[in-house]
Amino acid sequence: MNTVLSALLLILAPLLPLLLAFPALRSRLPRPCHIALLPALILLTVPPGVSIDLPWLLLGTGLGIDDGAGRLLLAMSVLIWALAASLLHTAKGQPADDRLTTCFLLTLAGNLGAILATDLVGFFTFSVLMGYGFYALLVAGGDEGARRAARVYLVFLILADLALFEALLIAAATAKDLGFESVRQAMAQSASPGLYLSMVLAGFALKAGVWPLHVWLLPAFRSSRPAVALLLGAVPVAIALLGLVRWLPLGEVSLPALGLVIQAMGVAAMLYAILAGAKRASLTRLPAYAAIFITGLFTTVLGMGLSDPEVWNRQGNLACFLIVSLGFGVAILVAANGWLQARCQYSALPEKQADDSSPWFERWSVAVTRWAAQMGTDTLPRLRAAWLANVDRCLRRIRIWQRTLDGSERFLQRWAYAVTLFLLLGIVVVFVGALSWI
């Protein structure tokens, strides 16, 4: 009975928010966003270590909750989501926006699913859902700055998903099944895990906004509405970091060189966060720099784990605590920020406009597109003209042919009898000629 119940809860945790995402299904419910969290909340109370297999779903997947990282993360998520749900519609006295609620619930489903997933495909699917949902949340709830941030986030998201898809394929080609444990082992024994590792690292680094890919984080924190800003740490960043923990063969392989590079990057990120945070000290920016700092810390730990499996096996739990603290920390900072703003009529420093310029790759892509278009408009007409001239020449030749044909047809018509006689005689002569030749 208990197993049935927990299995039901496992399925309901991501499914209920998905269902409630349909406006028609939630229109009569009070506080749908909170109700959507209920199964996950109850799930926290069941004894740990439950899981179910869903072999018919997708490529065969499953859901489960382990006693370590998963439980902790789930608890954190439930808390922060509940908080965000309360804030969702209250900000600035805006009326409840249906689209916003839908995006919120979709993202929630993706988030919970990703935490509960027991294999790579499930995790990937839910994190994609979460990613696009969060993008929509950013766009739907924010101003122009948030939109710009969202655009960058979307591009990173697509690139990240591509990289992770490749990693998935490699994993599927190497491992027997796609459960986290078996992939970890298969990758540890694989002869060339390099491509897999780099794809996973690149993919999740893009998703998490690890320095120097943090460009979207700053404007997102600044300009999205409080409920969304609250989620920034706990949703895209935390899940991406969780992905790193789950997907990498940590504690199995020893790659000192790669580990060192990653550690260096982590240290650099922390330094950047401290320096930039100190330079542009303002309360509004604090959560962003805190997030970058903790991510850097996490990266350093990860690098250590990659270079020496022993360290990871002893200290690996630290990573999960880091993730949880990231989520909580950012949330608390944002909340405090908001509270202070409301309390003291705290006015933010005038923003520098430099940050509002469109992101670099958009400028680039616009330039490239313009260049390509120009190439097209410059060279194509020339090619086209040359081609048309060719066609013209062909047509003229065809017309000459046609005229010849018409002329000869008319000739045949006019001199019918003469031609006939001539031809008939010709044919007979040919025969007789052939005969005499024989």
Partner: protein, 483 residues
């Protein structure tokens, strides 16, 4: 039943019908239709006999071959008779509508029926003749009847077309007759079977062969001897055009085929290649000219020139597959071209003109006619499922098997050309025309006959095995294995 003299009846029945039509002009439509039905039944009877008992040789009046007149029916002639019967029935039904209320008035109808019956007689006799002199006689009769029918339309166009046709026809027959005379002089017989045994290559034979083939090519309108065909076919009344394109030109081809297979099997490959080359030229020439035409009937007439070219592609291929392909082409072309001329006749009847550019107003109000034209077009293009497709398949197969793939190329390009002109016309069915205009209601029989003939052309694609099995009976192809 087996001892009924079907061959004689098949010839005499249309003759009797023609005489009856001539004697009772007021009843000519009824008499003509009855005769047509009767002929179909008789051909069926003959067919049954041939299928049951194999090829039939029948001595008229009991006199034997060297002296008397022999009739001979094998699978090939049976096939030709069947086509004639079916197409003839269709044309008769169509004409009953066309001439009945046509602007030509009763007068023309009175002339049409007897002549058409005589022409049918000549055709049947031609396909059953067992000697080359009889072939000449029937050919001459056929030509004269056809000329009369062309002139029936009245008007300067028709008369000049008819005159030209008459002269060409006579000239062709004359050449053929000269050949016959030469052969008779050398071998003392005109019977095909006897000649087949006796003929050996000699100067006289070569000359005879040249004369006969030249004459027949002229009558079959092979490029570049086709110049008389478009004007004659286009200026005639619609059922007559159908008749000429579907049957009359095929008759001379039939003679050519018989001669080639049975009397001149020694004809050398160079001559076959020459015929094939002319055929290819006809395919392209006819196709291009069809594309250039601005009047529907002229277009269809030029397409006949092209389609006749296909028939001659079988000569260089010289295999059973090739011959059956050509014959199947003949068959499906007969049905399809009949349907096409009927459809053109309908539009002409309806709108009073057959300018292609102004067709849209007419065809949109005659979906049946348009369907008939399109279905016939499918067969002419050689797209499946249709008789034309089967024919094309067989010819292509023969071309590739014999290693002369370029003849296949001719077929393919010719098909594309005809697709171009078919869709040029069919495209008008889908334009939006604004201006309605004066129109005359077309009798339902005319529309339905056109459609049925077109459907027949399509159905030919699904029943090929039975018809091809018919050809096996006493097949000249098996015996000689062709050239």
């Amino acid at each position: 039943m087996s001892d009924i003299h079907w061959p004689v009846i098949v010839i005499l029945l249309p003759l009797a019908g023609g005489v009856a039509c001539f004697l009772w002009p007021r009843r000519s439509v009824l008499l003509g239709l009855l005769t047509a039905l009767g002929v179909v039944a008789c051909v069926a009877g003959l067919g049954w006999q041939v299928v049951e008992q194999g090829a039939q040789r029948y001595a008229v009046g009991g006199w034997g071959a060297p002296l008397g007149i022999d009739l001979y029916a094998d699978g090939l002639s049976l096939l030709m008779l069947t086509v004639t019967a079916v197409v003839g029935l269709g044309i008769s039904v169509y004409s009953s509508g066309y001439f009945e209320r046509a602007r030509y008035g009763q007068d023309r109808a009175r002339h049409f029926w007897p002549v058409w019956m005589f022409l049918w007689t000549a055709l049947n006799a031609l396909f059953l003749s067992a000697d080359i002199f009889n072939l000449y006689v029937t050919l001459e009769l056929l030509g004269l009847a056809a000329v009369v029918l062309v002139a029936l339309a009245g008007g300067a166009d028709a008369v000049s077309g008819a005159m030209r046709y008459l002269l060409v026809s006579l000239l062709g027959s004359l050449f053929y007759l000269l050949g016959v005379a030469l052969l008779y002089h050398s071998f003392g017989s005109v019977d095909i079977a006897i000649l087949a045994e006796r003929v050996e290559p000699s100067p006289a034979v070569w000359a005879a062969m040249g004369l006969m083939i030249a004459g027949l090519l002229l009558k079959t309108a092979l490029f570049p001897l086709h110049f008389w065909l478009p004007s004659a076919h286009a200026s005639a009344p619609a059922p007559v055009s159908a008749l000429l394109s579907a049957l009359v030109v095929k008759a001379s081809f039939y003679i050519l085929l018989r001669l080639w297979l049975e009397i001149f099997p020694f004809a050398n490959a160079a001559l076959a290649q020459l015929l094939g080359l002319l055929g290819a030229a006809a395919v392209f020439w006819g196709g291009f000219q069809a594309l250039r035409q601005t009047r529907l009937k002229m277009l269809i007439a030029y397409s006949t020139v092209a389609q006749l070219g296909y028939l001659f592609l079988a000569f260089p291929l010289a295999s059973i597959t090739g011959w059956t392909g050509a014959l199947y082409m003949l068959l499906s072309h007969a049905a399809a071209k009949t349907a096409m001329f009927m459809a053109a006749g309908n539009t002409l009847y309806f709108g009073g003109h057959d300018r292609i550019a102004d067709l849209d107003r007419a065809v949109q109000r005659m979906p049946l006619t348009m369907t008939a034209f399109a279905l016939a077009g499918i067969s002419i293009m050689g797209l499946p499922p249709s008789g034309g497709f089967i024919a094309k398949w067989l010819l292509l197969e023969a071309a590739i098997r014999s290693g002369q793939w370029w003849w296949g190329g001719v077929l393919i390009l010719g098909g594309l050309l005809s697709a171009a002109w078919v869709f040029k016309v069919v495209g008008y069915a889908f334009t939006r025309s604004e201006a309605p205009h004066e129109a005359r209601a077309v009798p339902a029989t005319m529309e339905w006959t056109a459609l049925l003939m077109a459907v027949l052309a399509i159905l030919l694609g699904l029943f090929a095995p039975w018809l091809l099995a018919l050809l096996e009976i006493g097949s000249p192809f098996n015996r000689e294995n062709a050239g």
